[in-house]
Amino acid sequence: MDKRDAESVKQAIGCPMSRRKFLRCLAAAGALAAMPGGLLRSFDAKAGKIIYEGDYEIYRNACPRNCYDTCSIKSYVKDGVLQFIEGAKESTFTDGGLCVKGYAYTRRPYSPDRIKYPMIQDGRGSGNWRRISWDEAMDMIAKKLVEINDKDDSMLGLGLTKYSGNFGITNYAVEGMMTSLGYTTRLVGTPCWPAGIDAQNYDLGDMWCNDPEDMVNSRYIILWGANPAWNSVHTMKYIYAAQDRGAKVVCIDPVFTQTAAKADVYWQVDTSMDGALALGMARHILDKGLFDKAWVEENSVGFNEFADYLRNEITVQWASEKSGIPQQQIVEVAEEFAAAKPATIWIGYGLQRHVNGGATVRSIDALAAMTGNVGKTGGGARYGHMRTWGFNYHALLQKRPEGAKGFLGGKGPKGDFDFSGDEEAEYTDRALNINKTAEMLLTADDPPIRVLWISCKNVLSQDFDRPRMLEAFKKPELIVSVEQFFTQTVELSDIVLPVTTLFEESTINASYWHYWLSVNEQGIKPMYEAKSNTEIAAALSARMNKLKPGSCTFPTEVDTRQWMIKEFNQDIYDLFGIDSWQDLKKGPAKAKMHPASWHDLEFGTPSKKYEFRSDLCAQHGHQALPKFKAARKPYDKLRLLTPHTKFGIHSQFINIDWMEEFNKKPYCYLHPTAASERGITDGDQVRVFNKVGEVELEVKLTQNVPADVVMMYEAWFRNNAYNCQNVVDDTSSDMGKYKTGAPGVAIHDQFADVEKV
């Protein structure tokens, strides 16, 4: 890329200019004249009686974002326009409510910022967009795909990156479309929870958590690196209920979070030293003989070896020095936790986003297990589950075209939400690590990724080492984004295809936390020219087959409702106690599962027991015992944390104008001591910088963060170039490859410094 191109890329990402150009282009195409905001009229405050039942068509929807709560929604439609939504009162988990993000949904389909038509950018990053027809868009893409197949004699030059922007089951049509085209390249793994998934698989044989509603039965709750007050608001009422019944709630987090503010005890642990803390507690429980001897003898393997390790190498004093928590506190909470029956630990996803994250989760699991709290209601080492995800994955399971060639050797990709059970075949797809997307795009060769397809994902706001990603995005010959909004990823794409919101398509949604299942009905017609991911796959297939018959096996006509129906099976009906998917139109259904995971104490491990010593873990190159693992060495003065904001799910929702009313711009948070050392005062504009890159934003001083930390939230604002991925590198966490295809990323093992600008 020459200097001029580089300049235009810089301009595109550095200022909102290209977005304005994009909107101007939409206006020229006549889009703004039909401003969709106009459809969504405000209720007249003068209005008389409003008839809620009978005056609206009411549909069932479900939030498909990557969130614990996966809320079941009731949407009220009048004259073809979504008027307002509520939570489904049938779900005892959400109890008729949604969250701040959920209630912003009503605005989402009608947002003036929505991408309305397929568009093409003349010069990637130039901002010179023009409207094209779906036919033109499909024609350009199909021709390119035929061309790369002819050149490489395979489709491996086609790469897919997709993750959690839409977990509707039918959205696996994107993967299905790739399979329909041949053997392709997939960016696999997950930036979210892989180290913990592997850890729980080694210890328990699967990741499976108690029903969150069962938390009311707990007598002692440790919220460890979890912030439900922001990320699972509906679980908070169960924690409160347990508290009201006398349970003690301890929150362990480097940051004084909103959840910590609601706990009885808050421990400000040194970041990434959670494992040391758990082991120190375990040592004390062992010494005092407070562990559940009968439980470990009956239900586990390797406990004696673990006990020897604790006695030989762990002391409470050591744990205190490592974690920063005073010995007397460790002793007190350890004794209370061991004595309370039942007691539970909620293991958040934050504490496994470290180079020692998997080892940390294993040591916390061990604490729950040795006190006999695994397999009990009100107990459990809670992390997540996939027990209610047994759909047909009809959208995913497509045939390869005849004669398709792929990657010889190696294993095909599998993500954390892949249930396809890929059969043994001569060829496979090519799997690349999603957590090192920039590096993979730059280094993948023979063939390189010539066409990159992006869906359900905002790569440039979510993937790591963004400065390198900007380089990597210059390499593909064609980049296609499927999106609802003009994200930073769309800015660097060649073609953008407008995709439907949940209200405009049919699908199904399960949760990885609670036990409820919801149907998502199409309540309104797709706005403008938006198509669902299934329809896009069908349109591409039609064009491919016209160009080169037999080159794509995906059906050329689909009906999203029919495809939703195809995902159901008898096992799902039985699990949820329903006779037909149509029963879900009456309301969400809850799985007929025991509220306690592992209640029958039949573990999924090779020994069928809880494994304090996991030989499988050792075979995979880790320690057999849940031993302490050292942290990443700091490479700058302050620890950098980039957790979730309450106003978004990763980069989603923050751009909606309704959300902007309450969350106008990003801030970073700094302890007053760290600030004064740098001559920074509250409200200053600061530069957060490290070896990766830099970010400029306003600072807020607060003792909610430790003095050795700088914190800012992940976000994508529509009118602000802010991006925390400028300063986050792609270092891997220890575990994740076993179950999700690639190790996780040590998102919270980042370091930076701050200065006033």
């Binding site: 409510g97 909103q258 706990a263 005890v265 309450k646 607060t702």
Partner: protein, 188 residues
């Protein structure tokens, strides 16, 4: 005492999630910049941790509403049955008297209609046997409706720190104060 509905804000349970504020937007689609219910962060002098304790506030449906008293065109009335203060926007001339006089900042100016508007306590929903949108939405039951005629909560206060005291208006709102955990901070 006559029935008087009031909002009860349990700051001990409130997680400052803004769900109530957005639920109001979802129900009424106010113009950009017009907010009927907002979530206010407590200053550090009141709660020593920034952005960790909040009051969710809207119109307080006062016993003696100043908005009603200053309105020159009688666009406001107070419902006999439940004390809800209703603003009839079709009568409003946009003079701004109510906006200027309310010490709680409840009435807002709608720049498109050039008229005032404010929290209606979702009286249409009340009449349909439904909770107000904000109350229904609260995930922790930190925002509730109570009837002051029979409200008897020992921990409740009418004027907590940070909430302006106007006894002559007698705002129909009650609060429970936020609490703090035992904090164990590491030494650096």
């Amino acid at each position: 005492m006559k029935k008087q509905l009031a909002f009860y804000i349990d700051a001990k349970r409130c997680i400052g999630c803004f769900t109530c504020a957005m639920a109001c937007k979802n129900q009424y689609h106010q113009e950009s910049g017009v907010i009927w219910r907002d979530v206010y962060e407590l200053k550090e002098e009141i709660y020593p941790h920034r952005e960790r304790a909040f009051y969710s506030l809207a119109c307080n449906h006062c016993e003696n509403p100043t908005c009603l008293n200053v309105c020159p065109v009688v666009a406001y009335y107070k419902r006999e049955a439940d004390g809800v203060v209703v603003h009839e926007q079709d009568k409003c001339i946009g003079c701004g008297n109510c906006i200027r006089s309310c010490p709680y900042g409840a009435p807002r100016y709608n720049p498109v209609l050039k008229r005032a508007e404010k929290c209606s306590f979702c009286w249409q929903r009340l009449d349909d046997d439904r909770k107000p949108a904000c109350v229904l939405s609260c995930p922790t039951e930190a925002l509730q409706i109570v009837d002051l005629a029979e409200f008897d909560e020992a921990n409740a206060v009418q004027y907590p720190a940070g909430f302006p005291r106007y006894p002559s208006l007698n705002p129909s709102v009650r609060f429970r104060l936020p609490a703090m955990p035992k904090m164990i901070r590491r030494k650096l």
